[in-house]
């Protein structure tokens, strides 16, 4: 009977198309919005993602990775003296204005790294060499920044063309020259400003001699030392805050800087609410459109279901037929919707924004919700058919 149930479903192509549209749109909205949400939220802990140091140390009042509260330079020595620390390197982060050659200003995130060890340096450079950062007034810009801060000119066809920054180009930060010696590949920041890397010592010049420039310390444990235990020891010995650098936001570890950053933005911004609204909308639209269409499908087939009942099919058989129809439509709608979400996501990634991360959890949760919509639709149909008297088949 299940094969016949499917043939009944596929035989009514107009209804099937409507049903699939509702389910696919619902799946698309839920999967795409959730993936973009997690993509945007993943940008919040970009510093931790880009700089893969095992342990981060910060001022005890820091709550998340974008919240730098400068410490004294002497704190670095205190951390280095903690038992179990192999090395500790300074890291500076600050938001500054860069003045381009055309006079335009751009907001940048300046990252100062240790010139001796290059701890915290970007892992991949598409142009230049990291060692050149030791030359005077030099910086490394990320690819997004090279594009964003590039020179706008008119092409042969009169359209505006951006010529990205390249090695050798210069700009100014607080009236000091910054010469590009490298272009790096890193994940973009939540703030939208490009990353500009320079040495830790040079950040004092670019920040006009700020008294305190030590935003974070990057720490490597000695071989065999557990990072979590070392974090606790650093906190006990120095009174500072120590974090692990794992980026698994689902973990229960309250030491993860990435996880704490993610949940800080979750609690303190309206982002989850706005995306949650879109996801809920997808769910409601799915239930409304699919439920209505499936109900209409059942209504149109009601006299046939009544005939099948009269012929001796129990409600169990008919209920399973309706469930097979609803779940088949659900799975197809889910496939279409998630496929479209992936296609849109990939197209957006190629254009640089917005970020799109479809965790396996999003995939499975969307599947569960779409099947839930199908179940609700099927139950509505089952209730309707169960109330139909088999004797109605004799009433013309």
């Amino acid at each position: 009977m299940y094969r016949l149930a499917l043939n009944m479903l596929f035989g009514d192509r107009a209804k099937l198309a409507m049903l699939l549209c509702g389910l696919a749109f619902s799946a698309l909205l839920m999967a795409q919005q959730t993936s973009v949400f997690f993509g945007i939220m993943s940008w919040t802990y970009t510093p931790v993602y880009n700089i893969r140091a095992p342990i981060w140390v910060s001022d005890p009042m820091v709550e998340q990775a974008n919240d730098a509260k400068p410490m004294r330079d002497t704190d670095l020595y205190r951390v280095r003296s903690v038992d179990g620390v192999a090395w500790a390197a300074p890291l500076h982060t600050s938001f500054l204005q860069a003045r381009m050659q055309d006079g335009n200003f751009k907001l940048i995130t300046m990252v100062g790294i240790d010139a001796d060890t290059f701890a915290g340096a970007p892992a991949v450079l598409s142009q230049g060499h990291i060692e050149d950062l030791r030359l005077p007034n030099t910086v490394i810009v990320d690819e997004w920044g090279a594009q964003l801060m590039g020179r706008v000119t008119k092409g042969a066809d009169g359209k505006e063309v951006v010529i990205p920054l390249k090695v050798g180009d210069t700009f100014e930060v607080n009236d000091l020259e910054a010469r590009i010696v490298g272009i790096c590949k890193v994940r973009r920041a939540f703030t939208g400003g490009p990353f500009v890397y320079t040495t830790y010592d040079r950040t004092k010049q670019y920040t006009l001699g700020a008294r305190r420039t030590l935003s974070f310390m990057l720490v490597e444990p000695q071989a065999g030392v557990d990072p979590v235990k070392l974090c606790a020891r650093i906190e006990a010995d120095t009174g500072l805050k120590a974090w692990t650098s794992d980026t698994v936001i689902w973990s229960w570890s309250d030491r993860s800087l990435a996880r704490n950053t993610f949940w800080w933005f979750w609690k303190n911004t309206g982002i989850p609410f706005s995306f949650g609204t879109a996801v809920a909308l997808g769910l409601f639209v799915g239930i409304a459109v699919s439920g209505q269409t499936f109900y209409s499908f059942v209504l149109e087939n009601l006299k046939y279901f009544a005939a099948i009942k009269a012929m001796g099919a129990g409600m169990g058989v008919i209920a399973r037929m309706l469930l097979v129809q609803a779940f088949t439509a659900g799975l197809l709608g889910f496939g279409l919707g998630v496929g479209m979400a992936q296609a849109i996501g990939r197209a957006m990634i190629e254009k640089g924004m917005p970020p799109f991360i479809m965790f396996p959890q999003i995939f499975w949760a969307t599947l569960a919700l779409v099947l839930g919509i199908s179940l609700v639709s099927a139950i509505i149909g089952i209730i309707k058919v169960s109330r139909v008297d088999a004797a109605t088949v004799f009433r013309g």
Binding site: M1, L4, N7, G11, K303, M311, V393
Partner: protein
Amino acid sequence: MSTHAAQPVAVRTHGVDMFFGDGETKVNALKQADFEANRGELIMLVGPSGCGKTTLLSVIAGTLTPQTGTVEVFGQRLDGLSQEELTTFRRKHLGFVFQSFNLIPTLSVLENVMVPLLIQGASHDVAVAKARAMLEKVGLKGREYGQPNALSGGQQQRVAIARALVHEPSLLICDEPTSALDKDTGAQIMQMVRDLSRSPERCVVVVTHDHRIFRFADRIAEMEDGRIRRVVEDASLLDTNHL
């Protein structure tokens, strides 16, 4: 739910009352209706609209349970059965031909005929083989994979007959089987019903208004106001003006 071949009576109702609605809207559709049909017989239920033909047919088919009286079909009392038992009984022993065919338009002709077999739990391959054979019997070989809506009214009713008989039911219930057909096609359909259902272990009950097909009946039971008024063997004894 056993049948007893020794009994000549296939269907018997005794003292059946059937009410619909409550209070002022209460309708007494059957009033102490007594009816009998024998094995190997094609019996027609006739009478004016609203006389209770369809209600009696539904009671015999086990799709309605009467408030009073007894219903016996091939030795099985239906009036004491649960809904589940009635469903099982219909599945095993009844075949239906409906007035409006009730062929599922999104299924092929073959799939429509397979339905009763699949409800009985037959495998897909067995159902296909039996449905093909039955369609050949009703002269629709080569139309198996067409859609019912592409067939003429007569052909659709032949598909419905194939569906009704494919699982070899004891009792064939036909509700106005020729009402949507012209005279010649109606006659062909009734001849087919008669030929295919003729068996000492089978009984055919036909509800109809169509006096043109009375000649195919072994007996005709005339209903009036919820009761069987009389049963005749010769259709000419009926006054067809008020039917």
